[in-house]
């Protein structure tokens, strides 16, 4: 079974994330990393291939530094990487991103399974996976907390609010996994060494046959007009419990009419 995993290089959530002057995510001023939510997809792909046969290809879109995300996935055990990089892509929105990923997956060669995380830790729209499936005309089994492949059928369990659902699709299909799915492995020393020899291709828009007029900030379907930092919360009152902490809490709640 051949699997393509879509991964994203994101600014570290632990750092002070902000926007650049052009109102896109600032990627220069903060450390980046492979989105933690994509590690679950990489892990799931590795497990499936290890249990059978086939290859795991990871694909990312992003500036030069985004190669780090591919590298991390290769260190975890993926077989090859594709890095889509082109200045014209900067500022692309979800619609454009899904176009680029869909074209890249076609060029890689229709895999049996496309795996993604539940969302990126920076954008968190959680819709690009479904949009990629829509473009490729594939079923999407999304947000599953466990999955199984039997022959040409993939079955996933989705833990929803009102019900737990079992969802089934025929391969080829796209599956997005949540952070409840597995425990992503850390790259081993051997994995880190092996990754250095694994093939990574860098593709431009031209390689994908995508016109520059379809992507990038100026052609985005959604434009960010402005951004504003949330004003810091005013320092509230903190009391130490000396046997009456609960009473004081109750008083606070009644004064503020929550009771």
């Amino acid at each position: 079974m051949n699997i393509v995993v879509c991964v994203k290089y994101v600014p570290d959530a632990q750092s002070d994330r902000t926007f650049s002057d052009d109102k896109t995510t600032d990627r220069a001023g903060v450390d980046g990393l492979l989105s933690e939510l994509d590690e679950y997809a990489v892990e799931e792909a590795l497990k499936l291939v290890e249990a059978g046969e086939g290859e795991v290809t990871v694909v990312t879109i992003g500036p030069d530094e985004a190669a780090e995300a591919v590298k991390k996935a290769l260190q975890m055990g993926a077989d090859k990487g594709v890095h889509i990089s082109d200045d014209a892509i900067h500022g692309s929105d979800a619609v454009a991103t899904s176009l680029l990923l869909a074209e890249a997956i076609k060029k890689i060669g229709q895999p049996d399974l496309i795996l993604t995380g539940m969302g990126s830790t920076d954008g968190l729209m959680n819709i690009v996976p479904t949009m990629v499936a829509e473009r490729l005309g594939l079923p999407a089994v999304t947000l599953v907390s466990s999955l199984e492949v039997n022959g040409s059928t993939v079955t996933g369990r989705r833990d929803g609010d009102t019900a737990s659902e079992t969802i089934e699709a025929s391969l080829p299909a796209l599956v997005s996994v949540t952070d409840q799915t597995n425990e992503p492995r850390y790259p081993s020393f051997k994995g880190i060494m092996a990754a250095k020899k694994k093939p990574v291709e860098t593709w431009s828009l031209g390689d994908l046959g995508v016109d520059a007029g379809q992507v990038g900030l100026n052609n985005a379907w959604v434009q960010v007009e402005s951004f504003e930092a949330r004003p810091p919360r005013e320092q509230g009152q903190v009391v130490t419990d000396e046997g009456d902490g609960g009473t004081k809490l109750a008083e606070f709640l009644s004064t503020h009419k929550f009771v």
């Binding site: 979800a94 619609v95 959680n126 509230g236 009771v259």
Partner: protein, 319 residues
Amino acid sequence: MAEVLVLVDHTDGQVKKTTAELLTIAREIGTPSAVFVGSNVDAARPRLAQFGAEKVYVVDNPDVTGYLVAPLAEALATIAEQAQPAAILLPTTAHYKEAAGRLAIKLNSGVITDATGVEVADGAVNVLKQAFAASYTTRSKVTQGTPIITVKPNVTAPTAAQASATPVPVEVTVSDAAKGAKITETKPKEKSGRPELTEAAIVVSGGRGTSGDFSPVEALADTLGAAVGASRAAVDAGWYPHSNQVGQTGKQVSPQLYVAAGISGAIQHRAGMQTSKTIVAINKDEEAPIFELVDFGVVGDLFQVLPQATEAIKSAKNG
């Protein structure tokens, strides 16, 4: 005035509050038309009429509900082609967000999810949303195609405006391609009897500090009529269901009051709760980052503080 499509969120015709909110927003953009998918539309019509839906497009076709979002997106695209709406509004849930995504590709339109506000000025629809764990608010707009916007609960107070809610049956033929992801089994979850997490006015959450005993958290929640939330540490330990997780990979809540008990306040947890109006924390560690956010905090053991507060509230109520 152009139509604005509002996808109705309902259980068997019982319309959720978020739909009233979406209809209220839709009235500022144009003339609201509800889109009702499922059966029992008659139960829903009075409420849709009350909040201003002139038309109700009715899609009653089991093929649309038995599969993951692709058939729903086809149905919405069919209606959009007919109605040529000024905007399409959907509730923010995992399911409807994905339908919005597929629809955006079909209509070659921009999509904005998780809106925390929608402002209409000179015909332009500006959307507010939170970014980077809610440390920023952005204002954005769709510049190509029909704006497709998923709106979060509680972003506006619904106001009534009687309309006719005239039913318009819609025939949709779901393509075979859209029937790819079939829901083969649905196990309903036990209802807690508490308010829904994302819609609740008050949320009381517990973390690793509960050591697995959520009873003081639940007791306080019940005296306040609150929903119960949990940190990921508590969910990962198996102490509380994932559907109650608050944070980046759980629910993003914005209640009037958020109470965090035994939760340290990691950035991923903040992402789900820092837009709450009032924040209260109980934590043994006075250095816990959650205290940076609070309006009121108690440094102490939650097993002492919560029961005492619960008792005090109960006796105040009875007195």
